[in-house]
Amino acid sequence: MNALAPGVADPISAIAPIPTWALALSDMAEPTPTAPEAFDFAAGVEANVNALYRSALRMTGSAEEAEDLVQETFLRAYRFRHQFQPGTNFKAWLFKIQTNLFRSRYRRLWTHEASLDDTEEFYLYQHLGPDVRPGEDPSATVLDRIGVEEVRKAIEELPAVYREAVLLTDVEGFSYKETAGILDVPVGTVMSRLHRGRQRLQRSLYDYAKESGVVG
């Protein structure tokens, strides 16, 4: 099925006026000469829905709100699909739309002034590193004892500006440049938010792991 076949009426064109953020997507990637009609939007939904959903879940903290955010993201993406350049990064384009939707809906959570106390560098390593024996893979030993629940809580506890940078880079695997394009900030800002966010994350991971008794 190709939901973008030429001549197909746009079923959601009456939802809302075109927001300015949706028009500023040209920095995401270089356009390629692929014909627009060759792009299969439905396949793009199925390929990216899990990534958008898990990110929305960590950002909103609610399954119901995450579903709503993801659905609205795809409806907007479909409405503005003519602005997407086939052959460029569709996942990054969708994340930019979802990020802006999140920011407009959850202004109370969205603050550039979010402050984080300075934390010791490499907090987890400083505290758990000595438990790793020479030649041992920490992912298979010490770190493997930290569970899904501890990691989820540590991520959700991060202020939104740091959380989104960590999710985009560490969970979704976007490059600094792609993350900067999605968040509409300079690459240096992404690096700084990642650094501070990860410092805090490591502190929380250690505290939660200690609390649940998985580390000594």
């Binding site: 939901a3 009426a9 079923p11 959601i12 939007f41 439905a42 939904v45 199925e46 829905v49 899990n50 958008l52 959903y53 898990r54 990110s55 879940l57 960590r58 399954a63 579903e67 993801v70 659905q71 795809f74 409806l75 479909y78 560098e121 490499f122 987890l124 390593y125 400083q126 758990l128 590193g129 000595p130 790793v132 020479p134 893979d137 920490p138 992912s139 770190l143 930290i146 569970g147 899904v148 990691v151 989820r152 991520i155 960590v166 999710l167 880079t169 560490d170 969970v171 695997g173 490059s175 600094y176 690096m191 990642l194 650094h195 990860r198 994350l201 490591q202 991971l205």
Partner: protein, 80 residues
Amino acid sequence: MNDGLDCPDCDAARARLEAYVDRELTDADRTQIKRHLADCPDCQRCFGFEEGVKTLVRRKGCPELAPPELVSRILEHLRG
């Protein structure tokens, strides 16, 4: 444990640890770091650990899948 504070090479390497783990360094910088890691067991352990933390966050941070009914609902909307 060497925290890298008393070794200029360790300091320089650890200042670029995150970019290394994120695969954001140039080939030349990456090679330089790898050369240091080959000679420094402490940094090798630290870098290995930080890569492990990144993997931990990726694997366990968001394991949920989108509900199948959400996908169906979106596709139905798109079909009009």
